[in-house]
Amino acid sequence: MEYFIQQLVNGLTLGSIYGMIAIGYTMVYGIIGMINFAHGDIFMLGGFAALIVFLILTTFIGGVPVVLALLIMMIVGMLTAALWNWTIERVAYRPLRGSFRLAPLITAIGMSIVLSNFIQVTQGPRNKPIPPLVSSVYEIFGITVSLKQIVIVVITAILLSVFWYIVNRTPLGRAQRATEQDRKMAALLGVDVDRTISVTFIMGAALAAVAGTMYLMYYGVVVFTDGFAPGVKAFTAAVLGGIGSLPGAVLGGLLIGLIESLWSAYFTIDYKDVATFSILAIVLIFKPSGILGRPEVEKV
C-alpha cells in the first residue's frame, strides 16, 4: 500500500510537469487549430536557459540562496522561451495563417528540428548535469516525499490558478476565448486577433519554461534531445484530456504521469511508453473527443 502511494506521489510530480507543457499545446490548438510541434523543444530550451542562468549565478555571483536562484532561473527561462515562441510564431506560423492546414504543421516540425539542433550546435551534444539544488527529504507515514516534489506540485497549482484566472476573468482571456470560438467574428468585434494569438504563444512558452526548470531541478540533467519524449507525452496528455480544454490538459498530464510511474513500478520499465501510447489509442477509439473535450459537431 505504501509502495502504491509512493508511486502515486512520483506519478503526480511527473504528471504536473506534463500538465504544464500540455497547456501550451491545448491553448495553441484551441485558438488556431494547429499542433505546435515545436512546443516540446521550447520546453527543452527553457530548461537550458535555466541551466545557463544557474551556471551564471554560481560562477559570477555565488552564494545565492536556493529559493532566489530557482526564482531567477524560472523567470529568465520564461522570458527567453516566451521570446523564442513569439519569434517563431511571427516568422513561421503567422505568414501561413489562412493557408491550408498542413502548412503550419510542417513549419512547426521544421522549427522543432531547428531548435533541438540549434541547442546541439551551440551548447554541445552531451548531457548537462548540475549538482542537486533541493535535496531535503521528508518521511510522512512511511512515504518518502522529497522537497522538490512538493515544490513542483505547489508551483504547478499556483501557476494553474493564475492561468485559470487569466483565461476566465480578464479581458485578455475573454479575447482569447472569443478568438477560439470564431476568429473572424472576434476580429469584427474589435479583438486584435494577431495580438491575442501572440499572447497565447507567449503564455504557453512561459509555462513550458517553468516545466523545463522543474524538470532540470527534478532530474538534475538536461540534454538537447529532451524536447521530444516529454513533448510527445504532453501532447498525448492534451489529446487524452480533450484538446482545447485547459482542465483537460492538466487531468491528461496527471493521468499520463500516473500511468507511467505505476506501470514502471508494477510491470516493466521497458514498456512504459508503449503502455502510455496504447492507453491513448484505446481512449481515443472509445471516446474520440478525449475525456473533457466537447464532441465535434459536424455542420454540412
Binding site: 498542413l102 531547428v114 551551440t122
Partner: protein, 461 residues
C-alpha cells in the same frame, strides 16, 4: 519639378528612418534570443563539472548580421518586391506553351535516370562512382519512393499519417529477421515484407477509422513509437538497440555480388568492386520507385483512387454518395504501408544492418515534409522536393572547402539537420502550396483544366 524631387527625398529619408528603427528592433530581438545560448556555452571541465565559456564576439556577429539584414530588407528588398508585384498585376496572364519538353518530360527524366550510373562511371571511374550512385542516387530514390508511398495516404486519401516510418521499419525487419533466421532470399521476401507491412497498415487502420484529423495524426505517431519501442525492447528476437547485422545481399538472377568464382565480377571479367552492387541496387530502387508511381497513377483512374480523392475533399459528401469510407480508408492505409514495406526491405538489403535508430519519428517527419513541400498529390513535385531536401543535405557533407574558411574544427555535418529544418520552414513560408501547387483533376466534365492548389481542400482525416 523641385516639389516632386523633395517628396521623393523625404520619402527616402522616411524609409531609411523606418529601416533603422526596424533594424534596432531586430537587433534587440536577436540579442534576447541568443544571449544565453550563443553568448555563453556550458562545457564540462576535467572533473566533469559544468563551466561557462564566453563567446561574446560570436553573439555580436549574430546581432550585427540581424541588424544589417533587416535594414537591407526594409530599404532594398521590400520596395523591389512591391514593384514586381505591381508589374505582375498589371501584365496579362501568360499562358504556358505546351512544348515537346513539357509534354514528354516524365519519360525524359526516366531515361536520364537510367543513364545516370553509366555516365557517372565514365566520368569518375568505377570506384569513384560509389559515392555518387550511393549517396546521391540511392539515398534520394529511397526517399522519393517513401514519399510517393506516403502520398497515397496523405496526398490522395487526405489521412494525416505521422507514423509512416513504422511500415518502413516493419518492411526492413521482416527482411532482416526472415532472411537471417530462415535464409530466404531477397526476391521471396520483398513481396512478403510488403504484405506484412500492408497487414500492419490494416491492423492500425481498423481502430483509427473513427478518428478524424489531428487525433488520427497523434495515434499514428503513437503507433510509430510503439513499433520502435517494441523493436528496442524485444531483445530475444530483434537484438534490441544492437540491431540485426550481416543481412544477406540481394542476387541478380542467382548471381551473387561477392568475390567467389561465380560472382558477378568474375562472371563478367570485371575488376572486383562494390560499386557494381551499388549500381545494381540503384536500378532496383529505381524500379521500385517507378512501380510506386505507376501504381499511383493507375489507381487514380480506378474507382478506388477516385474514392480516395473524394474522401479527401469531403468525407460527408462521400458517405452520402454511397462510398464505403471504411474500406476506402483501409485500402489507402494498406497500399501506402505496402510501399513503405517494399522500401524498408530494400533499405535492409542496402545497409546490411538494421537497428531501431533508423526508424525514429524524425524520419516520418522528413517523409511527410517531402510530401507536403512537393505539393501534396503531385508526383513530380514530390520528386523535386526529395531531390532538393535530401540531395541538399547530402551536399553539405561534401562542403570540405568550408573548413578552409572556418578552420579545421568546422564540421559541416553538424549543421546538416539545422539547415534541413530551416529549409523546411523557408520553403513552406515561401511556397505554402509546395513546389507544384496545381493539380490536374482526375475526373473532369468536358474540359480538362488545371485546378489551382488553393481551390482544392486538404482532407480532414
Amino acid at each position: 519639378m523641385a516639389n516632386v524631387a523633395s517628396t521623393t527625398a523625404s520619402a527616402g529619408s522616411e524609409l531609411t528612418a523606418r529601416a533603422l528603427r526596424e533594424a534596432v528592433f531586430a537587433g534587440l530581438i536577436t540579442l534576447g534570443l541568443f544571449v544565453l545560448f550563443v553568448g555563453l556555452k556550458s562545457d564540462q571541465n576535467i572533473r566533469n563539472e559544468l563551466i561557462l565559456t564566453q563567446r561574446w564576439g560570436l553573439l555580436a556577429i549574430f546581432v550585427a548580421v540581424a541588424m544589417v539584414g533587416r535594414f537591407l530588407i526594409v530599404v532594398y528588398v521590400q520596395p523591389r518586391f512591391a514593384k514586381r508585384k505591381a508589374a505582375k498585376a498589371a501584365a496579362p496572364d501568360v499562358v504556358k506553351k505546351d512544348t515537346f519538353f513539357t509534354r514528354q518530360w516524365p519519360k525524359i527524366a526516366v531515361v536520364m535516370l537510367l543513364l545516370y550510373p553509366p555516365v557517372i562511371v565514365s566520368f569518375v571511374g568505377v570506384q569513384g562512382s560509389l559515392k555518387w550512385v550511393d549517396n546521391f542516387g540511392i539515398q534520394i530514390l529511397i526517399y522519393v519512393m517513401l514519399a510517393w508511398g506516403l502520398n497515397i495516404v496523405v496526398g490522395l486519401a487526405g489521412l494525416l499519417d505521422l507514423g509512416y516510418v513504422a511500415f518502413y521499419a516493419v518492411g526492413a525487419y521482416s527482411y532482416a529477421l526472415l532472411s537471417s533466421y530462415f535464409g530466404l532470399s531477397f526476391w521471396v521476401l520483398l513481396p512478403v515484407a510488403g504484405l506484412l507491412a500492408a497487414l500492419w497498415g490494416i491492423v492500425l487502420g481498423f481502430p483509427v477509422l473513427r478518428l478524424r484529423g489531428d487525433y488520427l495524426a497523434i495515434v499514428t505517431l503513437a503507433f510509430g513509437e510503439i513499433i520502435r519501442l517494441v523493436l528496442i525492447n524485444w531483445t530475444e528476437v530483434t537484438k534490441g538497440t544492437f540491431g540485426v547485422s550481416g543481412i544477406a545481399k540481394a542476387t541478380l538472377f542467382g548471381i551473387k555480388f561477392d568475390a567467389s568464382k561465380d560472382g558477378f565480377a568474375a562472371l563478367f571479367d570485371l575488376p572486383l568492386s562494390s560499386a557494381y552492387y551499388k549500381i545494381f541496387l540503384f536500378y532496383l530502387i529505381l524500379a521500385l520507385a517507378l512501380l510506386t508511381a505507376f501504381v499511383t497513377i493507375r489507381l487514380r483512374r480506378m474507382p478506388i483512387g477516385r474514392a480516395w480523392e473524394a474522401l479527401r475533399e469531403d468525407e460527408i459528401a462521400c458517405r452520402s454518395l454511397g462510398i464505403n469510407t471504411v474500406t476506402t480508408k483501409l485500402t489507402a492505409f494498406a497500399t501506402g504501408a505496402m510501399f513503405g514495406g517494399f522500401a524498408g526491405s530494400f533499405f535492409a538489403v542496402r545497409q546490411g544492418f538494421v537497428s531501431p535508430e533508423s526508424f525514429v519519428f524524425l524520419e516520418s517527419a522528413v517523409i511527410l515534409a517531402i510530401v507536403v513541400l512537393g505539393g501534396m498529390g503531385s508526383l513530380t513535385g514530390i520528386a523535386i522536393a526529395a531531390v532538393v531536401m535530401i540531395g541538399g543535405t547530402e551536399i553539405l557533407r561534401e562542403l570540405t572547402f568550408l573548413k578552409m574558411i572556418f578552420g579545421p574544427a568546422f564540421t559541416p555535418e553538424l549543421y546538416r539537420m539545422l539547415i534541413f529544418g530551416l529549409a523546411m520552414v523557408t520553403v513552406m513560408v515561401w511556397k505554402p502550396r509546395g513546389f507544384v501547387g496545381s493539380r490536374e483533376p482526375t475526373a473532369f466534365l468536358r474540359q480538362r483544366r488545371a485546378v489551382s492548389g488553393s481551390f482544392t481542400k486538404e482532407g480532414h482525416g
